[in-house]
């Protein structure tokens, strides 16, 4: 009997120690970086004391303020829309900077009065890029140049994430209605009601008030408790990685080559309509548009998607750009193999800092050449 009491009390105390240790060990864990692989880190960029690289629609006011400031200075602004390849640095070393930083550096080196504003969305799709452009347009903050990083992945990520949906809340309905199919999709997203809040039995009750106070006090007074969200994020990440790795191993047993998930036709049309509309709108607004094909790692191994379909899509996109007066830049093969780092089954899309430099050089050269 005494031994069972000791076992229970000892177990609880040991659990407390485990919790404190775990919270301490994960105090610096960044879930947003973990999703990209153990050596890939998402990084913003500050150039000349100004934030020039934004992720996931955070700090929109700062972004808008940057545009206003550049205009006031009489400079030009290049709004660069892209997915995580724009800001995620593989094999990160302290001091590394992302492509947006390097693009700004290159523009400064050639004395160009050009500021690159990088707006990266994790797995961003073309509808989200269109929504972002409309946001700046509605705020009367049109850029001089628009750069769009076009990826096949964009065609498979559905919907507008809530933060991007908020960006078009003030865009007039008749403007969206005049944008054809893409506008219809955005109208539907604009009208989409937020999901109903699941009423919890504790909502609005005396217990909720007491619980909030207790938790608030514990978070202030006890550092491990304040850090438990990082610990739970770390556990979730490790679990997802384990599940993913086991799934991959099982897939290898059954089918050695990765099976490419299909892209639903409706989603393809949905995304391509948004891309074409974005090009048409920006060109009609007098914005110089540059669309680039995001490079793949130069490997022939099994990959994330069907390369044939990806290349077909980009052939159509090149034709659309030519017809609409936008510049299309094929950057396939730009970044050599050493600048990619396949540390995980997740990270096939992000290059190391030299790759970011190469990307920035290619884009800045294209813009400098009067693209």
């Amino acid at each position: 009997m005494a031994s069972s009491r000791i076992r229970v009390v000892g177990g609880v105390l040991l659990g407390l120690i485990l919790f404190i240790s775990g919270a301490h060990l994960t105090a610096d864990f960044r879930p947003e970086d973990a999703a990209l692989g153990p050596f890939t880190f998402s990084r913003g960029a500050v150039f000349d004391g100004r934030t020039v690289s934004f992720q996931n629609a955070d700090s929109m006011q700062v972004a808008r303020d940057l545009v206003t400031e550049v205009r006031r200075e009489g400079g030009e602004l290049a709004l660069w829309l892209g997915a995580s390849h724009q800001y995620a640095i593989n094999g990160f070393q302290p001091g590394n900077e992302n492509a947006v930083f390097h693009a700004n550096r290159l523009a400064r080196e050639r004395d160009a009065a050009l500021t690159y504003l990088g707006f990266g969305l994790p797995n961003g799709n073309f509808n989200e890029f269109l929504a972002t452009y409309l946001h700046f347009r509605e705020a009367k903050l049109l850029p001089n140049r628009l750069i769009v990083g076009a990826l096949y992945d964009d065609l498979r990520e559905p919907g507008l994430r809530p933060r991007i949906r908020e960006l078009i809340a003030d865009v007039p309905v008749d403007l969206l209605a005049g944008l054809g199919a893409a506008g219809d999709h955005l109208l539907a997203a604009q009208a989409e009601a937020p999901p109903p809040v699941e009423r919890n039995a504790m909502d609005g009750t005396p217990q909720q008030a007491i619980e909030s106070r207790i938790v608030g006090w514990m978070e202030q007074a006890w550092a491990p408790f304040a850090n438990r969200h990082r610990l739970s994020a770390w556990i979730g990440w490790r679990w997802r990685r384990a599940v993913f790795d086991v799934g991959e191993a099982l897939r290898q047993v059954g089918a050695p080559t990765r099976q490419v998930p299909p892209v639903p036709e409706a989603m393809q049309r949905w995304n391509e309509a948004a891309m074409v509309t974005l090009l048409q709108l920006a060109v009609a607004d007098g914005v110089e548009v540059l669309v680039y094909k995001v490079p793949h790692p130069p490997t022939t191994g099994p990959f994330y998607h069907d390369r044939t379909r990806y290349d077909d899509f980009h052939r159509r996109l090149r034709t659309d750009c030519q017809q609409m007066g936008a510049t299309y830049l094929d950057l396939e093969g730009l970044i050599e193999l050493p600048y990619w780092m396949f540390d995980s089954t997740i990270d096939h899309w992000h290059f190391q800092e030299p790759g970011h430099v190469l990307l920035a050089e290619a884009l800045d050269a294209a813009l400098a050449g009067g693209a």
Partner: protein, 486 residues
């Protein structure tokens, strides 16, 4: 008040200390006041409903016990049943009745003002389905002359409103509780340790397992089920089956542990239901106090058989020679039990589904003998039957339930390469199933050699440590217990 919160743990700690400091007589008063305060932390205005039920049933049971006139006894019993069941119907089934009245009105062209009726705003009081059954069983037992009633209203009120089980069971019997409340004892050190262990286990099941399964289950059931493969449906069934089991049994564990810490023993409510080898065995292990209640107050009276008087055993005591005569009571009982779980036809469907399989096992000799002759296939079949039964329970509608269940019987839909549900969810379903079986094996492992005893001791302590750490990481009162909606 939600159990999965720091405020509850503080409430319990404070209550346990105060109970120890009180003289015996005052302990039950403290527990009664504490229970009412516990309920008031949700909505103080609904305390009046519990008090109303308690007052009426206390008086009714006393009058029934004291009277020898059959009509008087019956009248008091009817009053108790009408008030309690009437309140339950009003608060729980009004919208259901209105919706169905609307369907009938539309079909027959009656022109009932259904829309006006639907505008009534009714909040379902937490725990009404549970405490109603407790108060009703008290007066029925008095009528049946089982045990004796208490002459102390506060003892009775504490029995009705005892906070560990007030909002989601276990459903208590007066004969088990009232003697404990009339002569309250102090919790021993073993009680405190054992109760603490139980609470840790319960919180782990709820906040670590059930709450982490919840978003996966929500995603799976929110998908376009018309496109699902049969394998997707099975994954959906298993994931929810474990979510609801962890959620509900976790709640019961916390309830049992909390009661033990204050020196009160309340009955078990779950006994590893997913190792059952037949549907009847399942109902001996799942929500035991409910199925036992249904057995004693609905099923056995309908079959004309002698009722039982304890909160354990589930449906075990159906007598063989009366099985043919008990078929319609079986289906009626399960139909009602299904509706008790929720005011929607899909819950009734769930109930009838279980009744059907119990009936099949009665009628088909091969199935009846399966558990003894081939235990593992018997387990496998029961596991699949019970898991599939959760589809109508969780699906958004009756139509969705039918669509999903139909896929299971289509052999051409067993093509995992065309699965729609996200692949890792399949793995999660497998992991929780294997984890459950391992946990059961560990629970039953009783080593005898000194070396293995030590290993078991250390291992159990390590498990307690891991569960405690996990609870501290994940404890947040965001997800309410599933059975709160009943």
């Amino acid at each position: 008040m939600l159990f999965n919160s720091f405020s509850y743990l503080l409430f319990l700690a404070a209550g346990a200390i105060l109970v120890r400091l009180m003289p015996p007589r005052q302990r039950v008063y403290l527990m009664g006041v504490g229970s009412i305060a516990f309920y008031a932390m949700w909505r103080w205005e609904f305390v009046s409903l519990i008090l109303l039920s308690a007052v009426i049933d206390f008086i009714a049971a006393r009058r029934i016990e004291q009277s020898t006139v059959p009509t008087t006894r019956r009248a008091w019993l009817l009053l108790s049943l009408c008030v309690n069941l009437g309140l339950l119907v009003i608060f729980k089934y009004t919208y259901f009745l209105i919706d169905n009245a609307g369907l009938v009105s539309e079909a027959l062209g009656l022109g009932l003002p259904v829309e006006r009726w639907s505008a009534i705003d009714i909040i379902l009081p937490l725990g009404i389905s549970f405490y109603t059954f407790q108060t009703v069983s008290y007066t029925i037992d008095a009528y049946r002359r089982i045990g004796r009633t208490t002459d102390d209203f506060f003892v009775f009120l504490t029995y009705v409103a005892f906070w560990p089980q007030l909002v989601a069971g276990p459903i208590l019997r007066a004969s088990e509780m009232i003697p404990q409340l009339e002569r309250p004892r102090l919790a021993t050190r073993e009680d405190v340790a054992g109760g603490l262990q139980r609470i840790v286990i319960g919180l782990f099941k709820k906040v670590v397992i059930a709450d982490n399964l919840s978003p996966i289950v929500d995603t799976v059931y929110a998908g376009n089920v018309a496109d699902y493969m049969a394998t997707d449906v099975w994954v959906a069934a298993i994931l929810f089956g474990f979510q609801i089991y962890m959620d509900f049994s976790g709640y019961s564990d916390i309830a049992i542990g909390s009661a033990r810490i204050v020196g009160v023993s309340i009955p078990e409510n779950f006994d590893w239901p997913y190792i059952a080898r037949s549907p009847r065995d399942f109902w001996r292990r799942w929500h035991i106090t409910l199925s036992s209640w249904i057995r004693d107050y609905l099923y056995l009276p309908l079959t004309g058989q002698r009722f039982q008087t304890d909160s354990q055993g589930g449906l075990e005591v159906a007598v063989n020679e009366r099985q043919r005569a008990s078929t319609w009571p079986l289906f009626l009982t399960w139909f009602i039990m299904g509706l008790w779980h929720g005011a929607a036809w899909r819950f009734a469907m769930w109930g009838v589904y279980h009744a059907f399989f119990i009936y099949l096992y009665r009628r088909i000799g091969l199935l009846r003998s399966l558990p003894d002759r081939w235990p593992i296939p018997a387990w496998g079949l029961t596991f699949l039957v019970c898991m599939l039964g959760w589809i109508p329970f969780r699906a958004e509608s009756l139509e969705m339930s039918v669509v999903m269940l139909a896929k299971v019987f289509n052999p051409f839909l067993y093509d995992i390469s065309r699965k729609v549900v996200y692949g890792p969810h399949y793995l999660t379903a497998g992991v929780v199933t294997v984890g459950f079986l391992l946990a059961h094996a560990l629970q039953n492992w009783q080593p005898v050699t000194p070396g293995k005893v030590q290993v078991a001791w250390v291992g159990r302590m390590a498990l307690t440590a891991a569960m405690t750490a996990a609870v501290l990481i994940y404890l947040k009162p965001v997800e309410q217990f599933i059975y709160f909606q009943f």
